[in-house]
Subunit: 413 residues, 2 copies
Amino acid sequence: MNKSFALAARTSDEALRLRASAVIPGGMWGHQRAAAVPHRYPQFFVGGKGCRVSDVDGNSYIDFMCSWGPIVLGHQNEAVNRAAYGQIEQGDCLNGPTRHAVELAELLVETIPHAAWALFQKNGTDATTACVTIARAATGRRKIVVAKGAYHGAVPWCSPSLVGVTQEDRAHIIEFAFNNITSLREAVDRAGSDLAGILVSSFRHDISRTLEMPTPEFAQACRDLCDAADAMLILDDVRAGFRLHLGGSWEVYGVQPDLSAWSKAIANGWPLAAVTGGESVRDAASRVFVTGSFWYAGAPMVAAIETIRQLHALDAPEYLRRMGQRLRDGLAERASRHGFEIIQSGPPQMPLVQFAGDDDFAIGEAFCREALRQGIYLHPRHNMFLSTAHGQADIDEALDAADKAFAALARRT
Amino acid sequence: MNKSFALAARTSDEALRLRASAVIPGGMWGHQRAAAVPHRYPQFFVGGKGCRVSDVDGNSYIDFMCSWGPIVLGHQNEAVNRAAYGQIEQGDCLNGPTRHAVELAELLVETIPHAAWALFQKNGTDATTACVTIARAATGRRKIVVAKGAYHGAVPWCSPSLVGVTQEDRAHIIEFAFNNITSLREAVDRAGSDLAGILVSSFRHDISRTLEMPTPEFAQACRDLCDAADAMLILDDVRAGFRLHLGGSWEVYGVQPDLSAWSKAIANGWPLAAVTGGESVRDAASRVFVTGSFWYAGAPMVAAIETIRQLHALDAPEYLRRMGQRLRDGLAERASRHGFEIIQSGPPQMPLVQFAGDDDFAIGEAFCREALRQGIYLHPRHNMFLSTAHGQADIDEALDAADKAFAALARRT
């Protein structure tokens, strides 16, 4: 019935948007909602291979979003998918877990210095919510201290939107300013003897803001304040996990959390999340009840094992850093050549490109739109992601495309 | 390292349990937690085919749990998996949705009378939580009325456990007794002008309790009370959905909810959940922010389309009812032959078998253990599930096995 919409549309993407507007509220929901897709960007995709993605109108792009993070080894990594298929052809979702639940937990415990154990879920939000619940169970306290504006998931206690959220959902959340030790200390003081934990992202990656790495002093202050209060340090590594350091993103600061939340890149696009934790919270983790119908399925765990094996073999964080730096250096050079002052922030593995003085992102969006025409998929407001499928030649091809985009932008401004 | 545990174990299952106890809190978490697996039941599985599952020690069982619900067409349904593979080999988790998100939403709108739109998630809990958030957004009110003891998910606002849960998480939850219109009315009165909605399961399927279908009067009262208060009727069809009626489990009562939560059987084991709703809540659904990294992935949606197509073609609810009734009649006859009085409850598609006077489930657990030895996998406390892969011959084979189990039980008691 709704297919008749297609007649009025000029592209397959437009036809699908029209059909979607009839059967999906607002046309699409969540972080991929129709209203949030940059102007003239495609909404619907058909597939991906390596570092390239294709939209429903047959356009192919070098992909710097990597499905908003999950794709860390490139789209369609053959060994990962082959491993997952092997399990699916025996059985994926069963009456109990497969041996791979144990093997993956063992692999995480070997890989992550602070981890004595692991639990598995489906969404990053499942993992952050479980961490908060476990921290409260471990301490018998309620207050969770979080950075203002940080994204920790999309359920009422943490959603960036307050629509449909009650005050009580946030009753025990206390905010501080990221990287501001004084502000953190004040928030901890406000929690007083009711402090269950500090929940903090690996780095500040709030949408539509310049990315910001934690200072080593801030990371250490998080640890010290938790130690002083017998509270739990929870690292939200959902977005950055496995790209900055395989042992957890704060290993570079020598700061170990009590609990970490993982998801996104853990299984190269197969749906999985994990909580890891230390010995001191093992008992609490065994007492909380967190579960889901698909949480024990074998295939995503097999995919995770193969993903982490490849990430180790490739020394992925260093490889991604090198490629990200090549992209960053090249963009800086080309922007300057065309007379633009750009601000590049975040770790090279998860970059953001902004234009100086471009507070409303108008120039950034125009640039990304030009870049899209030249065959690279960038995001103007959200941190981007690299994968190990991005080779030097791909980065250089992307830089040539970016050069043309800067040139087109220069002609228009 | 932990593999050395295996040396002390007599079975593969025991070896895995020992390894799990080192790296997974409590050995396994959630509804599949080690402590909740019936005594001498296997914890770890390798696969399934049709209506049979196999554990890690090479034992095969006729499966009456169907992976706790997701498997509705039998394990390894070839057409479902082939369809999903077809998408995975193009790309599953991408920068945007595939066309299948639209096609599946269209299919649900065609299939479900109350549905004008659909949203997709990963967990049943995602769907029930989104329903509550949408109901609050639609009404601008806060109170949600739920049946005492009902399972609506495993996050703080609804978890069956209070460990790590704060009072505020439940601040706006008001309880009533299922099927008790007076109690329902009192709960609605207590909510007063702050009633956002009534959240109710398709039938009463609380663990360790006799199952109970809603009376038609109770179902209608839920609808009428919501209408009178301009509140939202939310049907939690996560567990029963697609087994009792393809248009929603309360279609048989002629009662249509404003919002429904779906998951489990929607994609025959591929991870997916959905919220469907009517025109009056479309705007609210477009305003709430609910999302997840893997929610837009194409393969589970393709799997859902093929699953629902097959369920339609097979008239699955009626087929499952017939097979469930055959099982029920056969069990009644054999129990009686061996001198046992059993209580069979719930819809035939999702049965529970209890023994009269067996308040601590000791007889039920002993019976299920004997049945397991005879090659059928039953659950003593939780509703079971049938699939369309259960043929008459399988049911009859299961009844023969049950007969031997009753005989063994009779010898022991």
